[in-house]
């Protein structure tokens, strides 16, 4: 068997499987990023809060999720979540072990990790807003909600874009760890193909190349987005 046949899309080829894995990696990372955006915004809000309790909770969240290995957090969510669901099931009279869906558990795990990084990004962006603009909004009588949606949120989104690009790259690479739960994403599919054909080198290289394609492409997408957003800024340092 030659390489083209093995990596191709024919009957004996693994190309289709690898591409399906790549799509799964994209899907799970996008889901994780959305979960991370929601949780991250809440954590950023807690960290910026005036109340000491909320600040402590926010700080504890970012310390734990950025200080503990990603793999350990995925184990916690996957095994812990499954045990919890099994326990809930036993209350409802369902016997035995109920596994959490690998996609949901993986996306949640990577999402919660990404939330801790996103929280820092959002916090930094909030602090980058010129205080005068918030004062001006207050002066002309904008309410809290209006101030948030008209003045604060649009600027946070703009300032956060470069930081979010970094978080996306991190999450993309973290998503490879979801393979331990058996989700058929790119890493897992490379393992399966490598194990079945015993061509470990070929398939890990192929998987690695596909990851490089993903990271390079998303780099481009974020570059384009940043340039679009930069139009609304006045020319300044680092906003070329």
């Amino acid at each position: 068997m030659n390489l083209i046949e093995i990596l191709g899309f024919g009957e004996k080829g693994w190309g289709g499987l690898l591409l399906a894995g790549m799509m799964m990696t994209l899907a799970v990372t996008i889901t994780a990023l959305i979960i991370g955006a929601i949780v991250g915004a809440l954590v950023a809000w807690a960290k910026l809060s005036k109340s000491l309790v909320w600040r402590l909770i926010g700080d504890a969240y970012t310390t734990v999720f950025r200080g503990v290995p990603e793999l350990l957090i995925i184990y916690l969510i996957y095994f812990g979540g499954s045990l919890w669901v099994s326990w809930l099931g036993s209350l409802l009279g369902l016997q035995g072990f109920i596994g959490l869906p690998a996609f949901g558990a993986g996306a949640l795990g990577v999402g919660l990790i990404s939330a801790s990084y996103q929280a820092e990004v959002y916090r930094g962006s909030y602090l980058a807003i010129v205080p005068g603009e918030i004062e001006a909004a207050r002066a002309i009588g904008m309410g809290r909600m209006k101030r948030f949606f008209r003045i604060i949120a649009p600027q946070i989104m703009r300032f956060s874009l470069p930081g979010l690009g970094n978080v996306w790259q991190l999450s993309l690479k973290d998503s490879a760890l979801i393979s331990v739960t058996g989700l058929a994403e790119l890493m897992r599919q490379s393992e399966v193909a490598a194990g079945s054909t015993r061509l470990y080198f070929v398939f890990y290289i192929a998987g690695g190349v596909l990851y490089l394609v993903l990271t390079t492409l998303s780099d481009r997408v974020f570059g384009v987005a940043e340039r679009r957003v930069a139009r609304s800024f006045r020319g300044g340092l680092g906003r070329g």
Partner: protein, 272 residues
């Protein structure tokens, strides 16, 4: 809370903590050596060499560490030539494979950090060094390295904390360090949260110590940022109004010589 179980778990995890630390120290050190060569190649300006270094950084930063580790551990054994080479006794061992792939990965990240530090060295300081006739080596040793190191330190401490977390991946090539042992305990006892708690505490303490030490190093290498000595004796002596009172009080350094001209009565005579 079952404290007996917690303490037993903690003991089992603490028993393998040295392995995690060993992995970490080895990969940071080897990675640092790799990164110095890569940085040197990257900024050398030799066309082929700098492209090669850039490609190395691109590949190792752009793909997940897990796939790199599997490639090294499982992938290389596919070749008969590798299995018969003198490197096989080294590569066959999962611990060595883990260290090598962790080091190769952090080498790429560290090279980017050093490059950023080099770029942050102010051009005028290099020009000034040249202007007073420093040789290339002296310029490098006195101006470029201290500046670049100082600039790179914060990013470097982030990177080594990331590597502490990355050592967890070694468990997937059968090195039973803290995360691997925790996973085994979870599958034996089904008590996920307690085991996670113990392992998390170990990692958090290790990372906290690393961050503290790095902060100390940052503090030690940047004495110039620590506020200049206020209340210069001359200003006091000449009696410039407002100048002597201005400025923050000089921090009390233990063992420092007593401040000169502390009170007006001891004020030295001003030569006219």
């Amino acid at each position: 809370m079952d404290f007996a179980f917690l303490s037993e778990t903690m003991q089992q995890l603490l028993a393998v903590t040295p392995l995690t630390i060993e992995l970490w120290i080895l990969c940071i050190t080897i990675g640092c050596v790799i990164s110095i060569f890569v940085t040197w190649a990257r900024v050398s300006g030799v066309p082929g060499l700098s492209h090669l270094a850039a490609a190395y950084v691109f590949v190792f930063r752009g793909s997940p560490l897990l796939i790199q580790m599997f490639l090294l551990y499982y992938g290389l054994s596919q070749f008969v030539a590798v299995r018969q080479s003198i490197f096989w006794p080294i590569l066959r061992d999962p611990f060595n494979s883990a260290v090598i792939s962790l080091a190769l990965c952090t080498g790429a990240y560290q090279a980017e950090i050093w490059r950023g530090g080099l770029q942050a060295v102010p051009a005028r300081e290099i020009e000034a060094g040249r202007a007073i006739g420093m040789s290339r080596l002296l310029l490098f040793r006195r101006i470029i390295v201290p500046n670049a190191l100082r600039q790179a330190l914060p990013a470097y401490s982030t990177e080594i904390v990331l590597m502490m977390k990355a050592t967890a991946l070694a468990s997937l090539v059968t090195v039973w360090e803290v995360t691997g042992t925790a996973q085994r305990l979870i599958s034996q006892t089904y008590r996920t949260f307690e085991v996670f708690l113990c392992a998390a505490i170990i990692y958090l303490v290790l990372n906290f110590l690393v961050i503290r030490v790095m902060r100390l190093v940052e503090h030690l290498v940047s004495p110039h940022l620590r506020g200049r000595p206020a209340a210069e004796p001359l200003a006091v002596a000449v009696g410039v109004p407002g100048l002597a009172e201005a400025g923050p009080p000089r921090p009390v350094v233990p063992g420092a010589p007593p401040e000169h001209a502390a009170s007006p009565t001891e004020m030295p005579e001003v030569p006219r």
